[in-house]
């Protein structure tokens, strides 16, 4: 779990990047699960924002998450490391994380980076929710 003031610091530092690459995060918080949908380049900026949303949900007791990457065509190594952090945090709370909307390359990347070992990968949001 990340401290809120650490996040504030990180966000201020990457202002220039945020100006360059627009991103968006949508949360669909159902009673027994939540879906986080990202849009844009999953780099440090979007990754930290995603991490903050995920940790807020986890702090509030939501440990069944789906991350929908359908609108995220591009991920860098920092984005990957942040996803691993979220997986580890959920793992500490015996939570479950499923991904959906991955491109074929992203899916291969996730399998190679062992993300698929600790999180499910599903073609669409509904099947990701159904398999939480």
């Amino acid at each position: 779990m990340r401290d809120s003031y650490f996040l504030a610091y990180a966000t201020e530092e990457k202002e220039a990047s945020v100006l360059l690459n627009k991103f968006d995060i949508q949360i669909r918080d159902a009673q027994d699960y939540a879906v986080i949908e990202t849009e844009g380049y999953l780099n440090d900026a979007l990754g930290e924002a995603l991490s903050a949303k995920a940790h807020t949900l986890i702090q509030d007791g939501q440990t069944r998450l789906v991350i929908n990457l359908e609108k995220t065509a591009l991920i860098n190594s920092i984005g990957i490391s942040i996803l691993i952090e979220i997986i580890e945090t959920l793992d500490e709370r015996n939570g479950t994380l499923n991904f959906c909307g991955l491109s074929a390359t992203q899916e291969r990347t996730f399998r190679m980076m062992a993300i698929a070992k600790y999180a499910g990968i599903f073609p669409d949001e509904q099947s990701a929710i159904d398999n939480l």
């Binding site: 809120s4 003031y5 650490f6 952090e85």
Partner: protein, 621 residues
Amino acid sequence: MQLSTAEETIQRLIFSLSELEQLGQTLISGHSNFSVSSKTYLRIALGTLQSTRGAILRYHPVDNHLSVAAAAPERRDGAEAPFIPVNPEDVAELLQHPSILISSPPTGLEGFFTRHEEVCSAIDARLWVPLKIHDELLGILSLGRFLGRSQLEEWEHELLTILAHQISIAIAYSRMMEGVQGEKFRLFMLAESAPLICQLLQPEDAAQQVVHQAVSLLDANAGGLLLRDAQHAEIEWKYTFPETLAAEFPSTIPLDVDGDADGACSTEKVLADVAKEGKTTQTDTSEDARLAAENIMAVPILGRDGDVLGVLVVGDKEERGGRITAFTDEDAILLDSFAKQAGVAIENAQLHQEALEARELQAEMDEARKIQENLIPETLPDIPGYEVAGLYEPRGAVGGDYFDCLELSTNRWGLTIADVSGKGMQAALLMATLRAGLLSEVAKTADGVNPDEDTAKQLCDMALTLNSLLYASGTEEKFATFFYTYLDPDTDTLTTLNAGHNPPLIVRKDASTQWIGEDIGGLPLGMFPNDMVPLIADYAAEQVQLNSGDIVIYYTDGVTETVNIADEDYEKRLEPDALEASKLPDPQASNIIKHIHDAVITFQGEADQFDDLTLLVLRKK
């Protein structure tokens, strides 16, 4: 100072051993990310030492500062994160001490703690234990007040040293694993990129994927691809990430751009130089407000033959925390390796596109050829007292040649030959339009002309109508040269109208020759609107009388502009060859055509020809 009882001490030692075991398990659990595991380490440290407040600070050597990785209690008030700048002297001093009492720091650190008194107070720092491996500072374990006592006992200090060492190993392990994960990701992306980008056959798709992969591979925040246009000595943006970036730059950059003279920024000059010199370059672009990037790295993209196809550029490498850092030499090698794959992919896509365009062009040409061939009559009518023969021979690209002999009414004939500018489908369609217009015009009257009106004027009016039709149908570059002959066999007169066509040649029986319409040729059809025609060269018709044995030879410029290997054209040879043909033992129209055709082919020799060859011959028996 109140000392613990022996029993309490033993109980705490047992607890500490248990916690140390948990700490070790956390370390080997596979949770490599210190951002996650730091909270566990802090909880174990505080619990073991019975401290109520504390923090783990992580040292960032790139920009020399300490930041909070974990804190207890956690702050959720949204306050700005403690940020402690550390200079190299401070680092050297911190490494000298196994632990530092904040209330009475060593002499060399008094100034440091005075400067950061507020921050230390915010995290309730009372005792700092530098976290290090050998002589490298990794962070600080900061402890607050201790439960029921003001300071640690000696055995607790020893325990603290073990804890600090374990946490240091965790940080080092985390850092190493971050590096390994990053390298694993990059190697995978590099290996994955080749098949991905090489299978893209659309140049636009290939350009986009190349930029996306490069940005992702280098942890960059921006990127772009420029391809070289050798014809114009410039490089052109094909794709940028983010896409909005392209709007900040001119779409093309001349290779000889001069930052000072042309007012172009140095970024453009750097990119042009990479394309010219083929060398990888890194540069500071913080002065270029358009780029919104602090630095860029550009590599040449080479084709199979080693020519520079273009430039791949990435900007603003980021590190965890969003800070922008310089590209390293390893990054340059990585991007260079990727650019080699990109070169193959781009060249493949370009070749595919060229093949596709060639196929489309060929299909269009085939279709145009069919239209063209349908316009040319398969047979020509028998004209009493005359012979008429025609030849159309395609050569190279499809031109817009046309000839015909129209039976207008009983014993009235219209002979025409025309040539549309340009090639291919457009030329074929324009010629079809001209033919349709011509048929429509001659059908207006029973004899092809109104016998009560002046024939020459009627032909001039017809030319204006056809001019108007073609002008409305085509573009400025599309026009047709057109020669029309109204033949009245009853009087053996030809009334001719020339709209910019090559003048036909009459070879008389007495071997004299005459070029028809040479001096009164009007404008080609479709070149100017009707109201401008009289201002430039109005249409006019002339009458020619034919006698027995006279031959009229119509032709297109494919005949006269045939060149030989010495680059001479055939034009001057037409008249003598026509005279020669007229003296054939059997000078039928078809024999005359064959003779001239053979003469043209002999003249041409091995030289390539690109225009169709069309001949129409009328002979008065």
